[in-house]
């Protein structure tokens, strides 16, 4: 076989992983250091610049979106199952935080290494780390409950069912303030405040944003490690095999349902953990935030970044989350003040994402930073030109056949 095609082969080399990991850690630490040590004493203009373009809230949100996009990437990118209702897991995780870290259930008083607001001991107040775990477990269970009947469906139907699920859960939350007299979700008013994070005696209140950012970055970092390691292990191989050829995978002893369910559960867990984290970031849980558009944004992050590739998804999540929470507003302001108009740019976000997705599908279907293997299939002609020159006639025939 030709040397040229060989060069395209090993995709997920550990050296490039190391580079990316160092890059990620460096950026995170730089953001932390700037906000923690430099900005408090910086000139006002610098402060304003950072707060409007790179606010810590938006940076924390980006980290949470990275976590969730990587979770969805396991379902969509690795196992090839289209999930249009991912927001449901985010919502469920958020409500776990709402239920277990606030005064919402004031008929009970529980405090397990928690952090109830001063003078308001009522409600359930569990430790943040415990709630993270419980949120993940809770959504994983829901992932299995939803997945068990639906993962038997072919992909289009699976997409429809998950779409429905993504609509139903938030609706339940909106209408869940009086379930037989029991106030489960506090309806449209939502649950707030959610307790401040308290870890090892340190409390991270609304103004400890830099520290909270670091916590969320750590969660994203864990998800990166999990994604990379799973990818190279027994489950990751089975997921990829299912993505490529379900029938052949089952003929090689891969149990389809169990393996798909595993991907669904891992993805759901990330969504749940993201939900808990997000509730602590904004200090509350609000049903109307969990809408269909979130599912689409997270899916776009996976597709835009490069389905299956952890670092691509990370870049996609970072870009889209930033454009969505900061970029559109800021660029909009600049354009508005330059033209004297008053256009509400953030309300065009889905137009912009839609156009972006169409352009991507037309010109760069594999995403910004695809897995090498995906780039291979998407740009097969470039590679097969090499192959045709050097290969035997049979292979040329095969390639030719596939073009048609």
């Amino acid at each position: 076989m030709a040397e040229e095609t060989k060069a395209a082969a090993p995709a997920h080399t550990s050296s490039s992983n190391t580079k990316w990991a160092i890059g990620f850690i460096t950026v995170v630490l730089a953001i932390y250091a700037i906000n923690k040590f430099y900005l408090p004493t910086a000139p006002v203009q610098v402060k304003t610049f950072f707060n409007s373009w790179f606010s810590l809230t938006s940076m924390g949100e980006i980290m949470i979106y990275i976590l969730m996009a990587l979770g969805l990437n396991i379902v969509v990118g690795y196992a090839g199952l289209l999930d249009l209702g991912y927001v449901a897991f985010w919502a469920l995780g958020g409500y776990v935080a709402g239920w277990l870290m606030s005064g919402h259930f004031d008929q009970w008083t529980v405090n397990f290494f928690g952090n109830p607001p001063a003078g308001l001991p009522n409600g359930i107040h569990l430790n943040f780390l415990l709630v993270l775990v419980l949120g993940g477990v809770f959504t994983a269970i829901w992932g299995v409950i939803i997945g068990a009947p639906t993962l038997r469906l072919k992909s289009d139907y699976l997409a429809l069912v998950t779409l429905g699920f993504g609509e139903i859960i938030p609706q339940v939350m909106v209408n869940g303030e009086d379930i037989g007299g029991f106030n489960l979700t506090n309806g449209t008013k939502g649950i707030n405040p959610v307790d401040n994070i308290k870890l090892f005696g340190y409390e991270f209140g609304p103004f400890a944003l830099a520290d909270k950012f670091l916590i969320y970055a750590a969660l994203a970092g864990l998800m990166i490690i999990l994604s990379l390691r799973l990818r190279d292990g027994r489950l990751g191989r089975a997921w990829l095999a299912i993505r490529e050829d379900e029938l052949a995978a089952s003929m090689m002893g891969v149990p389809l349902m169990r393996t798909k369910l595993a991907s669904y559960a891992v993805g759901a867990t990330a969504g749940g953990v993201g939900g808990v984290a997000f509730a602590t970031l904004i200090g509350g849980v609000y049903a109307e935030r969990f809408n269909f558009q979130v599912s689409i944004i997270i899916l776009s992050m996976v597709v835009l970044g490069g389905m299956g590739n952890v670092w691509g998804v990370l870049v996609g999540a970072t870009l889209l989350a930033w454009v969505n929470n900061t970029g559109l507003v800021q660029f909009g302001n600049i354009i508005n003040s330059a033209t004297g108009k008053n256009i509400d740019f953030p309300s065009f976000n889905f137009l912009i994402f839609g156009v972006l997705l169409i352009l991507m599908m037309l010109f760069r279907r594999e995403g910004f930073l695809p897995e090498a293997r995906v780039r291979l299939i998407m740009h097969e002609e470039e590679f097969s030109e090499v192959a045709v020159v050097t290969d035997d006639i049979e292979v040329e025939g095969v390639h030719h056949h596939e073009h048609n």
Binding site: T5, E244, L247, M252, V254
Partner: protein, 267 residues
């Protein structure tokens, strides 16, 4: 190697009906342990359908499949496969965008145990399991003669190497029986001749019984101990290569009525 009479696979009175079409009609068939047997017949005779019944892809309308002493009729395909009944595909079905090594390792899934937890934390057991799997994968790639393609994507391999990789992947299931669906399709005569030797090595070195679906008569006649002939869903003959060669019904099925001069072609 002499074959024992113990059948490792025993298909009894298999019928498959699709709507009004009888694809396989009351076919019984056994693979004696340690044997190399072939299933032949003209196009559309029901060979691949029969194959798909054995591997659990289709449910037979009636009949039973007994593999290694157990009824496997109606069992999920992945369970049949991990139970030791491995196959290759007529139209190569590799995982094209996975490396050769990964392709082989997918088939070890059922023999491995690592889950989300142990993989994420790289436990000792997981690392050992993974290392052993890689070693075994390399052994199999070497065995089929493509030991240098370990880290190449399956889709980049030459056609012949893809066929070999399919066999390596099937062997990773540590099967008792390997079903090869038209393995020499697209091979030139030299490659086909080498393939005969390869099938014998499969049995002697990997200890598997082999069932071949094959069109290349010279391969079939050289390598098979017993041959079963299907035509229009029915078993029309069964026997040793020399018996099959001279069986008038077989000649008729392949070449039409005036078969006497045609029998030389079969030879």
């Amino acid at each position: 190697m002499s074959t024992t009479n113990n059948p490792v696979l025993d298909a009894q009175n298999i019928s498959v009906v699709f709507g009004g079409l009888v694809a396989v009609n009351d076919v019984s068939f056994t693979i004696p342990e340690g044997s190399i047997v072939s299933l032949i017949g003209p196009n559309g005779a029901g060979k691949t359908t029969f194959f798909n019944v054995l591997t659990g892809l289709y449910q037979p309308t009636s009949g039973d499949v007994i593999f290694d002493g157990e009824y496997i009729t109606g069992r999920a395909p992945h369970k049949i496969a991990s139970g030791g009944l491995a196959r290759t595909f007529q139209n190569i079905r590799l995982f094209g965008m996975m490396t050769a090594q990964e392709n082989v390792m997918v088939a070890m899934h059922s023999k491995m145990s690592a889950g989300v937890w142990s993989t994420t934390f790289r436990t000792k057991k997981q690392k050992r399991e993974e290392a052993e799997a890689k070693e075994f994968a390399q052994e199999l790639l070497d065995f089929v003669g493509i030991g240098k393609t370990t880290h190449e994507y399956a889709r980049n391999l030459s056609y012949g190497d893809q066929r070999r990789l399919e066999v390596a992947r099937a062997l990773a299931l540590r099967p008792k029986v390997v079903l090869l669906d038209e393995p020499t399709a697209g091979m030139n005569p030299n490659e086909s001749a080498a393939f005969v030797e390869f099938v014998r090595r499969l049995r002697s070195e990997r200890g598997v019984s082999v069932l071949l679906i094959e069109h290349d008569m010279s391969v079939v006649m050289q390598v098979s101990e017993r041959i079963t002939v299907l035509d229009q869903g029915q078993k029309i003959a069964e026997g040793t290569p020399s018996e099959i060669k001279n069986n008038p019904r077989v000649i008729e099925a392949y070449l039409g009525k005036s078969g006497s001069e045609a029998s030389q072609n079969v030879n």
